[in-house]
């Protein structure tokens, strides 16, 4: 162990077997004093003594300890460099919780969450800014059940989330009642389909190895969630006298690079192409990935279509053709997919009518190449792997780690003739990019003065006040027509974190708070456009942001509905020719309208609204930004148009 601290605390009786005997021998002065104080404390709580005390305490019985297994667990967590533990408190990890705050000095810092789904989603958002996991503690039963959807989102989004869950394996050690309800034979079974690895250590040394191994696995591409069970007896028992515990060394695995022959073939196709397109989804795991994709695109003067699973490519780069992605893909003779979760969907379209039909968008003879770590790790039950893509070159590797060798392979093949052709192509693409940007700006003016406020106006008003600052948009733009990605100038890796992954609603608010937590120490201004239905899953995250002084500006995208579902209902009603006048039933969030400003204030967050007149929005954003700059969260309830 890295360190030891004697902080005697009352615990349940565990004078059982050899471990208990060893603990009795190890009793220290503090423990003895605690024992002597016991009769007076019992007298002060007669009812409790009557109901639960087995009888007068034996002088030989040891009720305190100086060093628990959970202290060692904290040593391990500290060695892994976690900054934060997100948790809703739970008795199955009470020892770990106590060791963290007292023995560990609250390092990593415990972040109080009001729901385990929030804990995991916070860690999910944090990981995409910081590039490493935050830790989550949860009950192995009810906590993990709450957390499961958020774990699934992180799994689909290839995000490393690191969970420690409490459980009591030894049935004879369980308190009657809730502790049985909170115990389980195989805790991780319910989420094993969508975590990368899990373990149930049965000794402290085993815990140390598994905890370090879990971190390594989570951080190896494809990065994914992991779960380690911390048995409550293992947490609460004293460290056996004389047991030599050490924290295993962590060495992160170098990410897998593409096979050199396959990379050379990809380079040959790309350099020879007349209209190559690079499609990036979760390609840039780190800031280096963004730089490498810029270098590849500029080397080839190729179109880039950014699906924005991560901040892969600057929005204002002249080679960025995202705004005209369909035309770019339809015209391409070579298409390279970089960590594209749904490559089939990128080159095909499916029509959602009574008879679903699909057709190829890309040219039939276009050469298709994929580089994805997804090919290295696929599970079968949950279908997040999407439809099977028929491609010409499939490289099972981490795209970011492969880009450097691909760039070099391309450079080796570029002749002066090709270079001239590339430069001419680049000039045309720059013109098309500018045309698309001008068109998007014009489109944003339609409905400019409308009330409820258009989403284009909302993002433009926000942009007016944050540009020039070190900002980070910590929310997804999919439900607001992608306006920020069409209008704002994104050029830094942390300025966009993509979406939920699994489209599980309830991710947005806690992920934004988690990302803002990561941004805090860098002094970045975190902004969040918050969907109303999403916030209603677990609004307690607002309190977490206020309690922990996490600066974050949230603008409600309050369209007063689960709008995506409303459109699905409309589609069904039209298909059945029944009219859509009742399709609000079950999907609208009105009557009464939800007062998000009041909810925010109730959680200790500066809040204004509802604001439905666009003229009022700019000044409200200004006031809220002043609060955020002082280090606090703020929320503005903006009544918006649907998308």
């Amino acid at each position: 162990m890295a360190k030891s601290k004697k902080t005697p605390v009352d615990r349940r009786n565990f004078l059982k077997g050899a471990v208990g005997g060893a603990a009795a021998l190890a009793v220290d002065t503090g423990a003895a004093e605690a024992q002597r104080a016991e009769p007076a404390r019992s007298a002060a709580t007669p009812l409790m003594a009557k109901e639960s005390d087995p009888g007068p305490l034996s002088k030989a019985e040891v009720l305190t300890e100086g060093r628990s297994g959970s202290d060692y667990m904290v040593d391990v967590l500290q060695s892994l460099g976690f900054e934060y533990v997100c948790a809703n408190p739970g008795s199955s990890f009470r020892a770990l919780h106590e060791s963290l705050i007292n023995y560990g000095g609250n390092k990593p810092e415990l972040i109080t969450c009001c729901h385990e789904e929030s804990s995991v989603a916070m860690a999910h958002g944090y990981s995409k800014i910081e590039g490493k996991p935050a830790c989550v503690f949860a009950h192995g039963t009810v906590g993990l059940q709450h957390a499961s959807m958020a774990i699934y989102n992180a799994f689909c989004d290839r995000a490393p989330v690191y969970m420690i869950i409490g459980n009591t394996i030894d049935a004879t050690m369980r308190r009657p009642g809730a502790e049985w309800d909170h115990s389980v034979q195989d805790a991780v079974a319910m989420v094993r389909d969508f975590v990368k690895w899990d373990d149930l250590p049965i000794s402290l040394a085993h815990f140390g190895e598994s905890a370090v191994r879990a971190y390594k696995i989570a951080m190896t591409a494809p990065t994914l969630p992991v779960v380690v069970v911390a048995d409550s007896e293992l947490q609460e028992r004293p460290v056996p006298e004389g047991e030599r515990l050490r924290v295993p060394k962590l060495t992160l695995t170098a990410p897998p690079q593409g096979d050199s022959g396959a990379v050379a073939e990809a380079a040959r196709l790309l350099v020879g192409a007349e209209s190559p397109v690079l499609i990036a989804d979760r390609a840039a795991r780190t800031p280096a990935g963004l730089k490498l994709l810029i270098e590849l695109a500029e080397t080839l003067q190729a179109s880039v279509v950014n699906q924005m699973g991560r901040m892969n490519f600057p929005t204002r780069h002249p080679l960025n053709q995202t705004e005209r992605s369909r035309a770019a893909i339809a015209n391409a003779d070579v298409i390279l997919g970089l960590e594209v979760a749904d490559f089939w969907g990128a080159v095909n379209s499916m029509r959602d009518q009574l008879h679903r039909t699909s057709r190829l968008i890309a040219k039939p003879d276009a050469k298709l190449i994929t580089i994805t770590a997804g090919d290295l790790f696929t599970k079968s039950n949950y279908q997040d792997f999407q439809r099977y893509p028929e491609v010409d070159v499939a490289i099972a590797a981490d795209a970011e780690a492969t880009l450097a060798s691909l760039i070099e392979a391309c450079k080796r093949l570029i002749t002066s003739d090709r270079k001239r052709a590339f430069e001419e192509r680049g000039r045309k693409l720059a013109e098309l990019h500018q045309e698309a940007l001008d068109k998007a700006r014009t489109e944003a003016t339609y409905g400019w003065d409308a009330s409820p406020i258009s989403t284009a106006r909302l993002y433009t008003e926000l942009w007016a006040q944050i540009q020039g600052q070190d900002w980070s948009l910590v929310s997804d733009a999919a439900f607001s027509s992608g306006w920020p990605l069409r209008l704002w100038n994104f050029d830094k890796h942390y300025q966009y974190i993509g979406g939920s992954g699994g489209a599980g609603i309830g991710y947005g608010a806690p992920a934004a708070v988690g990302a803002a937590l990561a941004n805090r120490k860098h002094g970045r201004l975190s902004v969040n456009v918050q969907n109303d239905g999403d916030l209603m899953y677990a609004p307690g995250i607002l309190w977490t942001a206020a309690h922990h002084r996490i600066p974050l500006l949230s603008l409600m995208h309050n369209n007063r509905a689960y709008h995506m579902e409303m459109m699905h209902l409309q589609r069904m009603a039209n298909r059945h020719q029944r009219g859509i006048d009742r399709t609000g039933i079950g999907v609208t969030l009105n009557d009464p309208n939800i007062d998000y400003a009041q909810i925010g204030r109730g959680m200790g967050v500066h809040a204004e609204g509802p604001i439905a007149d666009p003229k009022d929005l700019g000044p409200a954003i200004g006031r809220a930004l002043a609060v955020v700059r002082s280090g606090e969260p703020a929320l503005i309830d903006v009544v918006t148009q649907p998308r």
Binding site: D281, V305, N306, Q307, M308, T322, E323, R324, S325, R326, A327, I329, D342, G345, A346, R351, Q353, D438, R441, T442, E443, T445, Y446, G447, W448, D449, A450, P452, S454, A456, T460, E461, W463, A464, Q467, D476, A477, A478, S480, S481, G482, L485, G498, G499, H563, M566, M567, Q570, R571, N574, R575, Q577, R578, G579, I580, D581, T583, Q641, P642, R643
Partner: protein, 119 residues
Amino acid sequence: MRFSILFAMASALLAQAPGSAPKAGAAPSGNAQNGKKLFVRDGCYQCHGLQGQGGAAGPRIGPRPIAFAAFTMYVRQPSGQMPPYTSKVVSDQELADIHAFLASLPQPPPVKSIPALNQ
């Protein structure tokens, strides 16, 4: 995330209105006021926005809508992702009212008048 591709698909919809050629002069005169109500009642706003301004779910359709015959043809028999509106759900007269509403929408301010759109 595939919003950009969805947007591009949506933008292509009205340009691809299928079917027979529209009959000139067949458009009934529309009531823009009633059209505004129908635009909400019939859920047009859900994809196209309350002022027809469009977005990822549906293209802009105002203030200068396509010709009424092509408009009707597409609404009845869309070739893209838009759900079909048959005459059982929306009458021709109601479509004319909606078309009149779209035609009555104000022109937007010029881009140059909005500083944040030029930065």
